[in-house]
């Protein structure tokens, strides 16, 4: 029993330490200007105020950043879901010369850090005239090796007989993909959608490189920029952080089962 209690204290203490920075962030975002710089640190605002959120929305262009982040993340998610699922389907259910070596090459390339591509990618996109546009951020995210891998693993487990039956009924290859495979692969598509959306939303380095005009900034880039001018305005910065984190947190909490599954497919079979 003693062991059980001490174990429980440790578990609760770790949870407290893990959540403390986030709780402080939320608390401080509602505090009066300057109130977050107090000792000892407080978690609960004395005279709660929404003024920092108001400032962000009315004077700081925040609605625009939200829109930029939302458009870019949603586009990357939709396009990559389509492209990755088609490729994953082909790798899982078609036999063609060079399939396995091609797939192995792709997997091996996953260890190449994305930063290696960034300099030429910038020049390429500059040539295409998409620097400082949504497309500049979306294009490199259109397909991903990890996504293809995740979907392939899942589609493997769909019985061939379903595909054969559809073929007997005269369904075309695309029809089979669209009406048989996609509905059956829905769980993995949801998983990949969450991963992709969150990854795109949280991404920083590439948007920082491609988006140099203030009106095009995504939330993380805008937040980093805001930090330069408003480092003294703790409460304002916390409100900005809350608004940046909130959308991904909500998506995660709503669909956590799918997210965890994604980690495990990548982790156990990878």
């Amino acid at each position: 029993m003693r062991r059980r209690i001490s174990l429980y204290i440790v578990v609760v203490a770790i949870a407290g330490l893990t959540l403390a920075p986030l709780l402080w962030m939320i608390g401080a975002s509602f505090m009066q200007p300057g109130a977050a710089s107090s000792f000892p640190p407080r978690f609960i605002p004395e005279n709660p105020t929404l003024q920092h959120y108001q400032t962000l929305f009315t004077r700081m262009n925040l609605p625009r950043y939200l829109l930029n982040s939302a458009v870019i993340s949603a586009s990357i998610t939709l396009i990559s879901l389509l492209l990755n699922s088609m490729a994953g389907f082909a790798f899982a259910k078609y036999r063609f010369p060079g399939r396995d070596s091609l797939f192995r090459t792709l997997l091996a390339a996953m260890i190449i850090p994305a930063q290696v591509t960034m300099l030429p990618l910038f020049l390429l996109l500059k040539q295409m005239g998409v620097i400082n546009t949504y497309l500049g951020v979306i294009i490199p995210g259109m397909a991903s090796i990890f996504g293809i891998f995740l979907i392939r693993q899942y589609i493997f487990s769909i019985p061939d007989s379903l595909i054969e039956a559809a073929r007997m009924d005269g369904a075309s290859d695309f029809r089979i993909y669209w009406s048989v495979i996609l509905p059956l692969a829905k769980p993995i598509l949801v998983t990949l959608a969450i991963f992709t959306f969150m990854g795109a939303w949280n991404d920083f380095l590439w948007p920082l490189i491609v988006l140099t005009r203030d009106s095009m900034y995504t939330l993380p880039v805008a937040l980093a920029n805001l930090m330069g001018e408003h480092v003294q305005d703790t409460e304002l910065m916390m409100a900005g952080s809350v608004l940046t984190v909130l959308p991904v947190l909500v998506v995660f909490l709503a669909l956590q089962k799918y997210y965890i599954r994604g980690i495990l497919i990548g982790g156990v079979k990878g």
């Binding site: 429980y8 640190p41 490729a87 399939r99 260890i111 190449i112 949280n202 991904v248 495990l264």
Partner: protein
């Protein structure tokens, strides 16, 4: 020429409708990956042997091949060695620490004695899904020498206030603590799954033989988790070698370049001073290190498995 094209097409089976359908599905994704991932890698490699700079941006033909000069310059640049040292510090201390915390919390949550597992798993996992830039901003204030939460909590165990981000000695540990906090939940989930795959009978048999808790951990848990640990080790290392946002937001690489990372240096050279050829050579050094790191881990694992 034409016969070559035919031969290639026959080789990949282009005459077969089944194969044609496969390529129809593959082409969009693989085309995008080829143009926007593989092509830039090759281009970066070529670029790293040129003096591509701000003048070449408007007119690529102004870049000239300069052989290995970028790489030689890099070797002679103390800032590069500093960044390399910092990055290794971050990876070699932060990586094992993260994995240790992940394994520890996984075992804690896997224990039958802990109720409300789902809730705690969620609580531990929350930092993983937060936006790195946003939490780096938050932690900048948490590390405030006077008002910050960190010094306040450490005060309870009698530790004097530390100027976390202003002291060249403490800035890197500060970034490592943030990284561990942010990331441990991810690997924890993988470890929990790994632990659940270990047959309970192994532990029962060990207990009958009188094995202590430590012996069970050392001789059952760790070996059974070896494949999981390898995977977790590789993805953690690859991720940590790329650290950038934390120093960019929290320290700008300072104080005294004590948190300057390889990617931060690459970013500054490439996109601030537009020395893109030079920057490309930094990117390739990063690639080489990640590649060697992966090989070392695979090799070590194989050796460990022989016992």
């Amino acid at each position: 020429m034409k016969s070559l094209v035919h031969r290639v097409l026959r080789r990949i089976g282009a005459g077969d409708s089944h194969v044609r359908a496969a390529w129809m599905f593959l082409t969009p994704a693989l085309g995008a990956i080829a143009i926007f991932f593989f092509l830039p890698i090759l281009a970066a490699f070529v670029m790293s042997f040129t003096d591509f700079d701000i003048y070449s941006l408007g007119d690529w033909s102004r870049a000239r091949f300069i052989g290995l000069r970028n790489y030689l310059d890099l070797l002679g640049n103390p800032l590069f060695w500093k960044a390399l040292k910092n990055t290794f510090y971050f990876v070699l201390v932060g990586g094992p620490l993260s994995i240790g915390v992940s394994l520890g919390t996984a075992m804690l949550l896997n224990s039958k004695l802990v109720p409300l597992k789902g809730f705690f798993r969620l609580a531990y996992f929350t930092p993983v899904v937060t936006t790195l830039v946003a939490v780096a901003v938050v932690w900048r204030y948490i590390y405030h020498p006077r008002f910050g939460l960190m010094n306040y909590l450490l005060g309870f165990v009698g530790i004097q206030p530390v100027d976390w981000l202003g002291d060249p000695v403490w800035a890197m540990p500060a970034l490592i603590i943030l990284a561990v906090w942010k990331n441990f939940g991810y690997n924890m989930i993988i470890f929990i799954a790994g632990l659940q795959n270990i047959p309970e009978e192994l532990y029962e048999a060990a207990r009958i033989d009188g094995a202590s808790t430590w012996q069970q951990f050392r001789h059952i848990t760790l070996p059974m988790l070896a494949p999981t640990t390898l995977f977790v080790g590789i993805i953690t290392m690859i991720g940590y070698f790329q650290f950038f946002a934390e120093p960019y937001i929290m320290t700008q690489g300072g104080p005294l370049n004590s948190t300057l990372s390889i990617v931060l240096l690459m970013y500054r050279e490439g996109f601030r001073t537009w020395e893109m050829g030079y920057s490309a050579s930094i990117a390739f050094v990063l690639f080489l290190i990640v590649f060697l790191g992966t090989l070392v881990q695979l090799r070590t694992q194989r050796k460990v498995n022989l016992y």
